[in-house]
């Protein structure tokens, strides 16, 4: 890699041993990835707090303390994505009824290993969709280092900033990241034209569309026509499914997303390498794959993947108001939206119906922790597909549908959702 004089000095230990170790990681990573240089992060970092991508380049607690004692901070605005430490829940743990530790103070226990990161300047958003509540977003063209399936398409396609899936302590501390893949213009150009012939209306339609496209294009950069103007909730579903059914990190919606004022601009005037059509039959095929349980008796309902927005919570609380659930239902959001839901009385409505509002965690993240279940229901392709592997070797079936289908199942204990 070609390093600047400043970067060479850091690598030679001129800024201390910890900075050198961080630079060693970025250089080793960049070389394996085929990057020619590092780029300064002028946007933001979004990282999984408390962990490092590559074990041998991990910093010890003492090394981080050393930085803090010297008054050092992350060089760029750095947000906490979801925390993957086992059992991490920010709010609602005391209502889950399954955790062995439901004592007050559980949150402090969860936060203890992350205190040093917060002292470094990490903003404790603790959400898979931290970008929705961060109060600070990168702008078009800025270089970032983010993580998370739904977030990477969001930062690249929707915001028009530039990020690979590599947010980490080292990038936040040095304010640099290897310049390759989505940092470079040529890798952001659409190569596959996706013509959607199905009418996408419900949030679920975007979830199914995202999965179908991901499966069909893998890591390619698609341009979508016929998908309308997705709402925030629809972007969340589509983006998480694009990066679960496949690994789409960048796409264009001509006339909607910032790097594609027109279809021609999405392809930079080149011809698509291939064109695919996604129709209603494709959505149905994905729906059948996700909604595969053989029993209609629902033991548990999980909602909030990606974490529910305040608009989702308003809708869900509206469906639950005055009702009593036969099946336990957990609804997950991010910690800041949780506060809003408390203030608006939504948490109480959900609670009074027998539901549980949690923040900062989902079932998959907390190792499949959930009420004893054979069949669960969810409205998220991502959670649906991963959860069976998370609880392996336990057997679990999943019913999949809209938020309404899932809440009806929670109230009645029976699955009545069907393709329509």
């Amino acid at each position: 890699m070609n390093l600047t004089d400043d970067e060479k000095r850091i690598l030679d230990g001129g800024d201390g041993a910890v900075a050198r170790k961080c630079m060693e990681f970025l250089v080793a990573y960049g070389e394996v990835a085929g990057a020619e240089k590092l780029v300064d992060i002028d946007g933001t970092v979004d990282l999984h707090p408390g962990i490092f991508w590559v074990g041998k380049y991990s910093l010890t607690r003492e090394e981080i303390e050393e930085l803090i004692n010297r008054g050092e901070k992350f060089k760029v605005p750095t947000f906490a994505n979801k925390c993957v430490n086992p059992g991490f829940i920010y709010d609602g743990w005391e209502d889950c009824g399954t955790l062995p530790d439901s004592a007050p103070g559980y949150r402090e226990k969860c936060l203890a290993p992350l205190k040093s990161w917060i002292k470094m300047g990490m903003i404790p958003t603790f959400a898979c969709n931290s970008y929705l509540v961060s109060s600070y977003l990168p702008s078009v063209g800025q270089h970032c280092a983010w993580v998370e399936s739904s977030a990477i398409p969001y930062v690249n396609a929707v915001l028009g900033a530039r990020s690979n899936f590599d947010g980490c302590f080292q990038a936040a501390y040095l304010g640099k990241v290897p310049a390759y893949d989505l940092h470079l213009d040529e890798n952001r150009i659409a190569t596959v034209l996706v013509e959607c012939t199905a009418e996408l209306k419900r949030d679920m339609d975007y979830d199914l569309f995202g999965w179908a496209v991901g499966e069909a294009v893998g890591m390619d950069v698609p341009a979508f026509v016929g998908v309308g103007k997705p709402t925030t909730n629809q972007y969340l579903k589509m983006n998480s499914a694009l990066a679960t059914g496949g690994q789409v990190y960048m796409y264009h919606i001509p006339g909607v997303t910032p790097e594609a004022p027109t279809l021609e601009a999405a392809f930079r005037g080149k011809k698509p390498q291939k064109t695919i059509t996604i129709g209603r039959d494709d959505l149905r095929r994905v729906y059948e794959m996700l909604n595969y349980g053989t029993s209609d008796d629902i033991d548990f309902v999980y909602l909030g993947c990606p974490f529910y927005t305040i608009v989702d919570l308003q809708k869900a609380a509206g469906l639950l108001e005055g009702k009593k659930c036969k099946s336990p239902v957990w609804m997950a959001t991010n910690p800041l939206t949780y506060r809003a839901a408390v203030d608006m009385g939504l948490k109480d409505i959900i609670h009074n119906a027998g539901g549980t509002l949690i923040s900062g965690a989902c079932c998959g993240l907390i190792n499949g922790e959930m009420p004893e279940s054979r069949v669960i229901a969810t409205d998220a392709a991502k959670q649906d597909y991963y959860i069976t592997g998370v609880v392996y070797p336990k057997k679990l079936q999943v019913r999949y549908g809209t938020m309404e289908d899932c809440i009806q199942a929670a109230i009645s204990g029976k699955w009545k959702g069907e393709w329509r």
Binding site: Y29, G55, V147, M219, G364, Y386, G389, Y392
Partner: protein
């Protein structure tokens, strides 16, 4: 008796030389919730490699898919369940991190699709530094 031998040329990800039997997936591999790190096998429902151990095998696949938990492939090293080599058609930062953690020979960006040229059971010699993969086809 002559053996059919195919040579693939690719780009080094991680160096080193190793030989072993191939385990090939035509379907992309996922990490989080789809991989049992301790037992070294895919537990993704609907996957052709479901519950087939890959420990010590030359693992060949088209590309990663899904979550950053793909790095679980790298963590197999901690449990000794890791493959002997990691060969893939195309990758991104997730395959990079997994390969850096796994510390076994890894090659990508081949002159032909490795999931077409290599079949499960073929004997494979991987030279990570040179980016050369020699494939000795299994007897039919």
């Amino acid at each position: 008796m002559t053996e059919e031998k195919i040579v693939l040329k690719g780009r080094k990800v991680i160096g080193g030389v190793v030989e072993g039997e191939a385990l090939v997936s035509k379907k992309p591999l996922m990490g989080w919730g789809s991989l049992n790190v301790k037992e070294g096998m895919v537990v993704e429902r609907n996957h052709p490699l479901y519950q087939i151990p890959f420990q010590g095998k030359v693992l060949v696949f088209p590309e990663p898919r899904g979550s950053g938990g793909f790095n679980g492939y790298g963590l197999t090293r901690l449990f000794g369940t890791n493959p002997a080599a990691f060969l893939y058609r195309r990758g991104n930062n997730l395959t990079v991190f997994a390969a850096m953690n796994m510390e076994v020979p890894a090659v990508t960006d081949f002159d032909r699709d490795p999931t077409e040229a290599i079949e499960t059971g073929d004997f494979v010699r991987v030279d990570g530094d040179a980016g050369i993969v020699e494939v000795f086809k299994k007897k039919k």
